[in-house]
């Protein structure tokens, strides 16, 4: 059946789904149209019509500037630079960061053709110039590409009167040394701290 095949084909393109799991979902949707399919259609339509990118930080929200940018209780002098929206959500889950965000939209990766002009770097510079930012936290991933991007950003932002910091790295909370990989242990050793 063309309609079902189309639906399976579209769903199987989503992350985490293959053709078999997509078929199971389609069957469930068809079986429970009132409680699953109709609300799903409404939710998708609503998201399609209302969700947009924040013109300030690049976050996704129903309005621009987003809730985080509009929140007056947040520290507007600190910006945490993250790679994508999923990383922003991860930082928000901690509940400890009360500053604002900036989403780069990726990391530098010459192999994939991603160069500085493809990232939202100009946006950070203009925010520093206009908003009186005092600290930039570079929260890119601890990978070769993530750290290359962080070092590049640090070079670009160095001329500005702003403190540039980055996330600490090392042993995770609850981590046992015996089970840690060599790379994490090596980084943890380099970033060791004095016990006060």
């Amino acid at each position: 059946m063309q309609e079902i095949d189309n639906l399976v084909a579209v769903l199987s393109r989503l992350p985490g789904f293959g053709p078999r799991s997509a078929k199971r979902i389609v069957l469930q949707l068809l079986k429970k149209q009132d409680i699953l399919m109709t609300p799903l259609i409404d939710a998708l339509k609503s998201a399609k019509n209302n969700v947009c990118d924040c013109e300030v930080c690049g976050n996704i929200d129903t309005k621009s500037p987003c809730d985080i940018c509009n929140n007056l209780k947040r520290d507007k002098t600190t910006i945490c630079v993250v790679e994508n929206v999923a990383d922003l959500w991860a930082m928000e889950r901690t509940g400890t960061y009360k500053g604002k965000f900036h989403i780069l939209g990726g990391v530098l990766s010459p192999i994939d053709g991603i160069t500085p002009k493809h990232l939202n770097i100009d946006g950070i510079v203009s925010r520093i110039e206009q908003d009186g930012i005092s600290e930039i936290i570079l929260a890119t991933n601890l990978t070769v590409e993530g750290q290359s991007t962080a070092h590049y950003l640090a070079e670009v932002l160095r001329p500005y009167d702003v403190k540039i910091t980055r996330l600490a790295n090392g042993v995770p909370v609850g981590g046992e040394l015996d089970y840690l990989d060599d790379g994490t242990l090596a980084v943890a050793l380099q970033a060791r701290q004095i016990i006060e």
Binding site: P110, V144, G183, A186, Q190
Partner: protein, 244 residues
């Protein structure tokens, strides 16, 4: 064509959500592409990184088809350089040069061992001079053996230029007339010394080897190869006369 070998990861391209096409420089089988199942999974992500040394088991049904790698970690070489911008650029630059210069399926055990030993020098204070010397050794492996032992024109031992035609050193007096056409030769490459914080000399060494790399690497002008190297060259230039 199934084998087990030690290798260095040169490139990882995402395939679907968790898998990757991995370009590996193996010790005995040269540069080869293969699929790694679960390369971006939580288990493999910490060690399967560009530049990591791994134990690879390669399986394929025929030479024409892309094979599969089963990979076990040996050493994550990138972890020691992530916190230092210059070392990280040198690390990336070395990998991109090796990736761009080698053909698939040819044995390059010398390149493998030279690259592996270069990674160990990144922990030292002499990483920058080691990088410049590593570029010279890679050029030699590609057929351009630069000779800094004596002056090509029979001049004195005050060697400070390199002839772009012969790749041989030229003394100050002999090169005086042609210095606009000659390439700079930093002193540390002549006396084989290890230097700390001499960014101008590193910059000049990279400028010199740049000329020869361009002549031997067909896709030198592709952005993926030149970008990390260019940024490293700029990094040295910006720190000229400053502490690294």
């Amino acid at each position: 064509m199934n084998w087990k070998d030690k290798g260095i990861v040169l490139r990882l391209s995402k395939l679907g959500e968790y898998d990757a096409i991995c370009c590996l420089l193996s010790e005995k089988h040269g540069k080869i592409n293969g699929c790694v199942k679960g390369a971006f999974s939580k288990r493999m992500r910490p060690f399967l990184e560009i530049g990591s040394t791994v134990q690879a088991e390669y399986k394929t049904k025929s030479e024409e088809h892309l094979g599969y790698f089963k990979i076990e970690p040996i050493k994550n070489n990138s972890s020691q350089v992530l916190n230092h911008s210059g070392k990280l650029l040198a690390f990336k630059s070395a990998i991109s040069i090796v990736d761009a210069s080698l053909m698939y399926g040819q044995n390059h055990d010398t390149v493998f061992s030279v690259l592996e030993s270069f990674f160990t020098t990144l922990n030292s204070d002499y990483w920058a001079s080691s990088y410049c010397k590593w570029e010279i050794s890679i050029l030699a492996e590609m057929g351009i053996a630069l000779d800094f032992s004596s002056c090509a024109g029979g001049g004195s031992n005050d060697l400070c230029y390199v002839s772009p035609k012969s790749g041989r050193a030229v003394s100050r007096e002999m090169g005086q007339l042609y210095k606009a056409k000659l390439l700079p030769l930093p002193k540390f490459l002549v006396d084989n010394s290890l230097l700390e914080n001499k960014c101008l000399e590193y910059y000049e060494a990279m400028k010199m080897s740049d000329f020869f790399l361009k002549s031997v690497i067909s896709d030198y002008n592709k952005e993926n190869m030149t970008e990390p190297r260019k940024r490293l060259s700029d990094w040295f230039f910006n720190r000229f006369d400053k502490n690294a």
